[in-house]
Each structure stands twice: as structure tokens, then as C-alpha cells.
Assembly symmetry: C2
Homo-oligomer: 348 residues x 2
């Protein structure tokens, strides 16, 4: 029996909150009897839902909050006036050591800004990044940054590489996951200067990191590396393009099939395979954008997440907390970065 | 009956050249009896292929060349020593006014560098860009830049927008195609500075351009705008990610279906629909990356193109030449840019 893990939940964040959040917590609670939930939000709204979804009173505590971060609020505005929100309070529970991780389906920018301010950045890490998991031909891969930093220098990319490596180790138990930088060609002369510089630094680290060089956009689906690192702009473009392409292919395929009765019948016969396909690559399984580089664990669920998707984001938070992600990133940064080529340049 | 259009073909460029190039030319020649082909390359190798694929001697002329641009050659090296290559000579035919457009499946970097040097940039255009066509839920869309410029300023993005608009008008006969900038959010505060600046300039152009603001990666597949503009780095990442995603989905789907006989039988029944789907979205149909902003038409076929794919690249070149793309871009730049907000800042 493991120790009880306390998770902090922003019950008011997301398009379907608090309903889907509470239902998601209930799903997770059924699977983890060693997890206790702090639920931050409007008690009047939350209390009936804990009953509705059969949450055992021994596994949660409601912390009443009076304010909510609006989905369209600007991070700067929220930092000034958001201290009474469920989001802020749920992050503060991690900062103050009462909970090990926070999960929210609320406003991404606000969650990142608040997490940064409340939790602080780990020593050795200049800027936190957002990581996500994607399916690929060779298995799941970690991609970061997905949008926290629109512009990055070489040092940021090196730090993202180390953080992505540690995350992959923790999530999938692989000791030396392959790491690559996203670029527009695989030759070492290609791409932007900061990416080439980061590649040089990572190469010079030798066997301290399993660095594979550059990969291109098509190598994401091919799973050519287990950790793919990009600045937040390119990473976000890649992630969203991937989502849009899956939607387009599925739309176009359905449209053609619907034009013929025989095809529709054929697809019905293939239903078990299609259902297995859908289940395996259900985007909800990949829900949970993980903030890396902070002195605490903060996971962002998709705003439109349903209960199952939200429970998957909780699952990621549990793994990260149980395996002590933050300490591991700190240690990796200390051992690897102290010896890297970029270390000299980090002094003013 | 239209005038004879002369196209210049680099017969030695590409993985399967000159075989697939000649077969592609033959396919095009059958569809266009008003097009005449200059074939640049090794006469000994080309001549037998013209016979093999039944090219009418009245529709082509072989220009013997002694050198070839290697697929892995660096553009700088090629500019110094590539004057006897089939690629250089085929571009020079356009520069010297003997041909209206050049098509090559050779080394992209070399073709862009040589096209820039030989043809020159149009007045009003600072940097040429590479455009491609992609399928989407709402129909074909034009995306640029796909990799010519790894970094761009606001002025470049504005010029790409105008060039993409003209290309869309020419290819699809739409008078005011919708134009948008690729970004990581649709709010006007999102993304990099140069993108926000470009958006301001395009907005200030009023009804001179049908500017829709920002779109995200997922809006490419959704076809939210007819022309989507990005710097060459992000554009390339988006294009390649899209390609990789299609491959991954098709791989994963096939894998599941193959696990069950019933499903395979179902897929066989759905074959007509699947075949129609494949035909409609055959990537070969979208072959042909178009260089925009030059004083001549230069089209890059995929290096691995087969005959049909190569003929599609020729088809794009024919449309661009027949509709006089370069003059139209020049005129659009003159009328729109002279009045744009960015005009003042372009003076030193």
C-alpha cells in the first residue's frame, strides 16, 4: 500500500465544469483508493455532484471558493485580481505543500501564469514548457513545447530536451528515450540558428542524453524519436495541424463511404476493427498538457474535456507525482547542464 | 485555339529521372496539344525515352546538357559550378524568354537559389516564397511559405498574402479568396510580433484583400481560409506534420483492419468508396510547389514523383503561365502595397 497522494482539483475550470470535472474525479477515485482529492470551487454546486457521482466522502474535501477564472480572461488581468478563484486556490494548495499536483481544465494562459508565479521555476530551468503525449507508428511520444514560449533560444531548447527526457522516463519507464529537435530538414546546416546551436550543445553532451539530431514534421507521426522538442510556436502549429488533419481525414472518409450503401454495409462489418482503432487512438487518452520546469506539478486538461478525458489528465498527474517528476528534472538539469557547452554562456 | 506555350523541363532532376519525367511529359502532351516542351538533359538518355513514351516530335526539342545537380548538393556550391547543369539551362530558357515556365523535380534548395539568381525578384516583392495546394474540408487551399524563408518579417508575410491571393485567383478562379495568417491563437494579442504587425497591415488594407485574421494549425484541415500564410519554418512544419499524420492514420487503421477477417471483408465491400477517397485525395494531384515572387514561373515537383505526379506539376505550371501569374503579382503588389501601412517603413 502506497502513501495517500493528495491532488488539488480546480473544479470550476473548463467548458463543462463543475459537472464533468466531478464525474472525472469520481472515475479516477474508483481506480485509485490511495488518492485523496481537494476540490476547489463553489461548494453549493460541487456538493450535490459528489453525491450524484457517488464520491466516497473519505476521498475528498471541498474547499469553497467564490470566484472563477473566465475562459477568455487575460493572464495579466487574472494575476492581478484572481486570488479568490478556484484556479489560484488549487495551485496554492500545491505551493503550500498540502497537495502534490494540481489539475485544471480552465484557461491555459492563466493556469500557466499562475503556476509560474505560485510554484516558481526549478533551479537550472530558465523557462517552463508545456508537454503533451501523441500516438505514433512506434508508440507514444512526448512533444514539447506546445505553446508556452513563442520564441526560444538554444538554452531553452536544451532544457526542454532534458525535461522531455525525464517525463518520458517517468511515464513510460524507458531509461534512455531518444530525443530530437523539430526542424525543416535533417542536415545539420538546416533551420534556424538557435536550433542548430541547441543541436551542437546536445551532441556535445555525449552519452548523457540519447540525442538523435533533427527530425521533420512527418517524423512526429512516424515516431522517429520518443521526445520531440520545438519552440512553443512550431510545437503548437504541429500539434494543431495534426489534430486538424485527423479530423479532415475522418470527415473525408466518412463522406465517401456515405455515398454508397454497399460501402456503409462494409464499414458496419468492419465495425469491431474501427471501434478498436477509435478506442486505441481516442484523443481523450492523450488529454493532459503537462507543465514542466516548475517546482510543483500542474496539469492542464482540455477545456472541452468530458469526464473520461478529465480522468486521463488526473492519471498523468498521478504518475508525475508518484514518480517525483520535479526532483528528477532538477537532478537531471544539475548533472547534465553543469557540464554542457552552454553552461559558460549562461553567466552574464 | 490558344498560342503555343513553351515549357522548359529539367529532364534530369528527381529520384526517377529522366524516366518518370519523360513519361510525365508524355502524359501532359496528350492533354495539351498547344504546349511545346524544351527538354534539358543528356540527349543519349532522353531520346530513347521520347520514343518509348510516344512523344510526338512536333511537341518537343531536346537541349543536350552535360551536367546534373546532385540531390544532396548545397545551393551555394551549385551556384558556383552548376552552369552546365540541366537545371540551370532549363531556368535560363525562361530567363531568356524562350520558355514561359520551368518544371524540375531536382534539389529544392538549388532550384530556388538558381531561380532567384536567373529570374530575379519581382518589383515590390522582397523575398520569393514557396506555395503548395492542400485539400481541406471546404476545398483546396493554398499554403505558403513552405520553406524558402526560415525567418520572415511583417513585410514578407504581407507580400506572401498578396502572392497567395493572386495564385488562388488564378488556379481556382475565385475573385476574392479569404486570406489568413497562421498563428497559435485567434485573438489579436497572440503569437509573434511580426505576425501581429502583418495582421495590422493587412487589416488596414480594408477591402483590397479579403483578410480573415489568424487561423491555427487545425484550421488548415478545416479549410477556414483559402490562403494560409506562414513563415517558411512554420509552414514547412505544418505541411510535413500533415503528411506524417495522414501516413500514421492510414498505417494504424490498416493494422487494426488486418487483425480481423470480417473487417477485411468489410473493407473489400467498401472498396469503391475507399478507391474514390484515395483518388480524390491522391497526394500526386497536389504535387508541384510553386515559387512565387520571381520574374518567371518556376515549379518544383516532388523528388520522388512518378509520371502522373510530374504531369500534375506541369499542369500547375501551365495554369500559372497561361494566366500570367508574374504580371498579376506585380500589379497586385503595385496597387496594394503602395497604399499599405507598411509602405512608409520600407524606405531606409
Amino acid at each position: 500500500m502506497t502513501d495517500t497522494l493528495i491532488l488539488s482539483i480546480d473544479a470550476m475550470g473548463g467548458d463543462h465544469a463543475p459537472e464533468s470535472v466531478l464525474e472525472g474525479v469520481a472515475l479516477s477515485a474508483k481506480q485509485h483508493d490511495d488518492v485523496f482529492f481537494f476540490l476547489f470551487g463553489n461548494e453549493e454546486k460541487i456538493a450535490p455532484l459528489t453525491e450524484k457521482y457517488g464520491l466516497d466522502p473519505k476521498c475528498y474535501k471541498i474547499h469553497h471558493t467564490t470566484d472563477v477564472v473566465r475562459m477568455d480572461a487575460k493572464p495579466s488581468q487574472i494575476l492581478r485580481s484572481g486570488r479568490e478563484t478556484s484556479m489560484w486556490k488549487s495551485i496554492m494548495a500545491v505551493r503550500n505543500g498540502y497537495a502534490k499536483a494540481v489539475v485544471s481544465a480552465g484557461n491555459t494562459g492563466a493556469l500557466m501564469a499562475m503556476s509560474k508565479i505560485c510554484l516558481g521555476t526549478l533551479p537550472g530551468i530558465d523557462r517552463p514548457a508545456i508537454a503533451g503525449i501523441l500516438p505514433s507508428v512506434t508508440g507514444p511520444i512526448v512533444v514539447l513545447d506546445l505553446g508556452a514560449n513563442t520564441e526560444c533560444d538554444a538554452q531553452n531548447l536544451v532544457e526542454f530536451s532534458l525535461m522531455g527526457e525525464v517525463l518520458y522516463q517517468i511515464l513510460f519507464g524507458v531509461k534512455e528515450p531518444s530525443v530530437a529537435l523539430l526542424n525543416i530538414g535533417s542536415e545539420h546546416t538546416k533551420g534556424r540558428e538557435e536550433i542548430r546551436e541547441a543541436a551542437t550543445a546536445l551532441t556535445e553532451m555525449g552519452d548523457k542524453i540519447n540525442f538523435q539530431g533533427f527530425v521533420e514534421g512527418n517524423d512526429i507521426g512516424a515516431g522517429k524519436a520518443q521526445v520531440i522538442v520545438a519552440d512553443g510556436f512550431s510545437g503548437n502549429i504541429a500539434l494543431k495541424t495534426l489534430e486538424g488533419t485527423v479530423k479532415f481525414v475522418s470527415y473525408a472518409l466518412k463522406k465517401e463511404v456515405k455515398e454508397s450503401w454497399l460501402s456503409m454495409f462494409g464499414f458496419l462489418m468492419a465495425h469491431p476493427s474501427l471501434a478498436r482503432f477509435k478506442k486505441k487512438y481516442d484523443p481523450r487518452l492523450y488529454n493532459g498538457a503537462m507543465f514542466l520546469g516548475l517546482k510543483g506539478i500542474s496539469v492542464k486538461s482540455h477545456g472541452g474535456a468530458d469526464a473520461f478525458a478529465f480522468s486521463c489528465a488526473i492519471e498523468a498527474a498521478i504518475k508525475m507525482a508518484r514518480k517525483d517528476l520535479c526532483t528528477k528534472i532538477k537532478d537531471e538539469a544539475a548533472t547534465v547542464l553543469n557540464m554542457s557547452a552552454l553552461d559558460d554562456t549562461s553567466a552574464p
